[in-house]
Symmetry: C2
Subunit: 622 residues, 2 copies
């Protein structure tokens, strides 16, 4: 067996239609003050705590039960297996960057437990073992059997790419073989009420080279719109995926599905799938995305709303932000277009990160843009999809920082790191990126090819920066234009690029058709969206008003919320009002009083005493 070469998260290295190739998490070490402590906490606190939750809830025991080694009943929901698979994925990526014999042993034990639960015919789902064997594959609409196998495959691929081990991969291949037999491409339409298997199958194809998995993934996509899932729009079965142009239904399911479509397009270039993806993305980005990158506005059904339905009390499931990143990342690999990179950055900082408490042990399932003070993070959920999803994304984060292409090297996220990469032609390049982001706009990239080498270094001009950037290469200013700073030259070891982005406070408004936030502004600075929280205010935060033209002061406060830059300005507060709930529009509004307004990053809310929070602050009536 050849030496293990660590692999990336989404491996487009050999994908015929990818513009960009990713790098392996193991080749990148995150070093900055913002993310490095979060990854350490993920390793040291979150992943052990989640293993314990899988013990406590019985999710691990279910596998032993299915293997016949313990008795008793099934615990949890019919998709509890996926909690364990996501934990395996998180642990695997963690081992890639931070070897730990203790974690490796624990992971081995879990994998043995999983392998032991598999039937001889490859079937694997502990809910449908022992007393429910007869119910297998009787309910594709509800029961998540393929979804769970999707997480098994994702875990197995991550485990292989992180460690070189194939024991879990063998389990995954056997499970997929079972599905490919039961729902054979071209013969038996089959797809799952909860997508997820599609992208996993393409990844399995990328890992094994076996085209069966690509064919099965495509077949799963094209099984939609044939009534397998009752034609449900909520389950995105109302039309063939190739005909769709409107993002609808359950947000996580929809975006996992579209991510799988993108994976197939990356491999095949399938023109009608690609055209559908472009239409769906336009619908998503144009009217169904929160300012935080959160998606899925509706609490009923965890679903997308109509276009421009973007209320304060958005559902914005943490998993949906992760799914949003999955989709955007694949479209970025396909096209190299900066809009997708921007979504990855926004959703990561403002859609996923709020899902995690400062302690690393409590989680948000929903991420509304305003709250009266009762929505708080919890240690686990009956439906526990979000916590291990955060853990696996954070563990794999080093793999999202760089990409390569025939043209050269692309930075994707401004997260401080040191990386040992190879260009497409095999040239080894060491890079170091230092940055004060997300707090301030200084970025320094040191490029050290093994030997002087001509290529282009692409550095993103984020949407939040606009043209507000200076670029200096080895001390000499250069003129750039967006959306990528592309620096083609013969790079020599130790070459330095310094970028300085402006980070003014931005008062953002939504498209005029977004009625819910009409005449209100959200504050943002750099990649971060801000909010006002009651803990920083004497007057009720719902009474605060801005003009949008405030002179904001940014102060970094290492003592606050794990270290955040706050924004303060002189705003106003409406006068206390005990008038009726509805009243005639006044010719002249009552004068407000002066009020100091303090904003904190949205990701950090709900880490202090309960109180109201609001992202979109009303503009004062003039």
């Amino acid at each position: 067996m050849s030496e293990h070469r660590p692999g990336p998260v989404v491996d487009t290295t050999a994908s015929g239609h990818a513009r960009l190739r990713p790098v392996a998490p193991r080749d990148v070490r995150i070093t900055d003050d913002f993310w490095a402590p979060r990854l350490r906490r993920n390793r040291e606190v979150t992943i052990p705590a989640q293993h314990q939750q899988c013990e406590t809830t019985g999710a691990l025991r279910n596998f032993a039960r299915a293997a016949g080694s313990v008795g008793g009943g099934f615990s949890g929901r019919y998709y509890s297996d996926s909690d364990v698979y996501k934990w395996i994925e998180a642990a695997s990526w963690t081992l890639a960057t931070d070897p730990s014999p203790e974690l490796a042993d624990r992971l081995d034990a879990v994998i043995k437990l999983v392998a032991g639960a598999q039937d001889a015919d490859g079937y694997l789902n502990t809910y449908f073992s022992v007393d429910r064997v007869g119910e297998r594959w009787t309910d594709l609409v509800v029961r998540h059997e393929m979804y769970c196998i999707g997480h098994l495959v994702a875990a197995a691929v991550a485990h292989m790419r992180a460690t070189g081990r194939t024991d879990l991969l063998d389990v995954a291949v056997a499970a997929c073989t079972h599905i490919a037999t039961r729902f054979a491409p071209g013969e038996a339409p089959g797809t799952c009420g909860h997508p997820g298997l599609e992208m996993a199958l393409v990844e399995l194809y990328r890992t094994t080279g076996d085209e069966r998995w690509l064919r099965l993934a495509t077949w799963q996509l094209d099984s939609r719109g044939r009534g397998v899932l009752d034609g449900s729009e909520y389950l995105i079965d109302h039309q063939p995926v190739r005909a769709q142009d409107r993002v609808t239904g359950h947000a996580v399911r929809a975006l996992y599905l579209y991510a799988g479509m993108a994976d197939v397009v990356l491999e095949t270039g399938d023109a009608s799938l690609r055209a559908a993806l472009e239409r769906l993305w336009a619908d998503l980005a144009g009217g169904k995305t929160a300012v935080t990158g959160g998606v899925g506005a509706r609490w009923d059904g965890e679903a997308f709303g109509d276009a421009y339905e973007l209320p304060d009390r958005a559902y914005n499931e943490t998993c949906a932000s992760i799914a949003h990143i999955f989709l955007a990342w694949r479209l970025l690999l396909l096209t190299g277009e900066p809009q997708y990179r921007d979504v990855v950055e926004t959703a990561l900082h403002n859609g996923v990160l709020p899902g995690l408490s400062q302690s690393g042990t409590e989680f948000f399932y929903q991420n509304p843009l305003a709250d009266a003070g009762r929505h708080r993070r919890e240690p686990w959920f009956d439906c526990a999809c979000c916590p291990p999803n955060i853990a696996r994304l954070l563990a794999s984060l080093p793999g999202y920082l760089w990409t390569t292409s025939e043209e050269g090297l692309w930075a994707q996220l401004y997260i401080g790191n040191e990386a040992a990469l190879r260009l497409a032609d095999g040239t080894p390049v060491s890079v170091a990126l230092d940055t004060s982001l997300p707090w301030d706009g200084a970025v320094r990239v040191t490029v050290s090819p093994a030997a002087p080498s001509e290529f282009t270094l692409f550095l993103p001009l984020p949407g939040w920066a606009g043209d507000d950037v200076t670029v200096v290469v080895n001390g000499a200013p250069v003129t750039v234009s967006g959306p990528w700073v592309s620096l083609r030259r013969t790079w020599a070891p130790g070459d330095v690029v310094e970028l300085t982005f402006g980070t003014p406070v931005r008062a953002l408004v939504a498209h005029p058709r977004v009625a819910a936030t009409h005449h209100r502004v959200a504050l943002a600075r750099g990649p971060l969206v801000y909010c006002v929280e009651q803990a920083d205010h004497d007057v009720p935060v719902d009474d605060l008003r801005l003009t949008g033209a405030e002179a904001w002061t940014a102060d970094h406060r290492p003592d606050l919320l794990g270290g955040v830059t706050t924004l303060t300005a002189d705003g106003s507060a409406v006068a206390p009002d005990d008038g009726p709930l509805y009243r005639p529009l006044a010719a002249a509004p009552a004068p407000g009083t002066a009020a100091r307004v303090t904003a904190i990053p949205y990701y950090a809310w709900a880490n202090r005493e309960p109180g109201a929070m609001r992202v979109f602050v009303p503009l004062a009536d003039r």
Copy 2:
């Protein structure tokens, strides 16, 4: 047996703490052009169609099954019986005002079916018959057994008061006797996850004079907050009802519960219950009521939101508006305060009426304040609470038009009618009320006591009218002040009072803490709330903008939507915008284009081709 004296809907005739006494529906004939056709359609179309639905869904058959006269399985949900009971109530009140041998026969047949399903011990719920007898009373949290008996009692009381018949009342008494034995006051705490039985028990007490039912109702109220319903806040079991001060949980359940509390207070004057009611009403009216009178903002759980959480896409269940009327009507009978009358009027016209299609055969369950065009009425629902609830309210509407007191006679709703009433001292008075409302503000009341008689005639000054009214008695102007026009004199047969209310178009805004509708206005005129609907506009309704100072033209269009007064004015529309979903606040907004704006009554929306609708229209940025 003495001659049957028709009874009212909520009979406070002998209630020790009621300020007002109602009149019997049978004594009032609605005669106007707006409501009379709606009541006719209720009789001729809706009630027969709903009987058919009870046949089709098996709700009626369930009773035959429970009686052992047919086999097969149970159909529908564990509360399907309540559909039938609500139909009985609707049919009974209809017979009170509009005798029909055909309907009477059909009603008799249904009542026989119900009576036949009752067990010897009084138990009655067809879900828990045949194969589920052992599950009776095992799940007060979920299973609605007491709720269904509440509707049985309400139906039985209505049937008795409308027809003088006691056959269904005997069934109801037996069922309540069963409950009073199983959950005996002072001994066995018992109350239902879905309230409703409380107010029915008080009504049973009023009808039978048997204090057991008042005691049982009070016991049901005081069984809350003891963990019977798991201490659930959603089920309003988190605190004793006497300690509550925040309207929370499932909206219909909460308001049915509070209506039951009000009924007990009407009988007993219980001070702590009354104080709780006042606190809860302040919370409800102060921050949790839509401009339409709809309540229960959240789709998840059909529940109340936090204070001032009043979004466009409010749930506003039709049943919750009916519950709102039930509560407000009881508080009006208790206090005579006009705020409660105003809620009855607003919720009737704008919360309940939208629930019914122009055809009388399709219904809204939810009544959002904006929609993209996909929310449409349906003929029935799997959970079919709303349709027969509308039918029974409309059938009983004549009972909501007048009340009496020791002081005299009170008009409550400006709905054209002729009534043969008796004052509290027994004096017979005929009254006729003619009005052009809800379209224009002319009201003419002709008062004809059997003989000249001194009493006060109270006529409401609705909240929407403010002081904009002229009053003329027998041709002579009189000076009045609100909130009631109280005219004390010796009334002689044929005396005439003419009121003229101003009906300007009102541009309403919400309390400053309602962020969701910040800088937007809702249009109202008279008792009606208006909306803009796509069918009347060339530009997307979401692009429309108002200043709030428009000069509106009101046109009555008999041809449109069954005859409505439309409002038109010159507004504007924002320019088409293909910019990003979020963008910097512009110093100067893009100029809009002129656009003619047409508003229709909110109740009439979704009766034409599907299209967007909006109640709160954004104010133009200046």
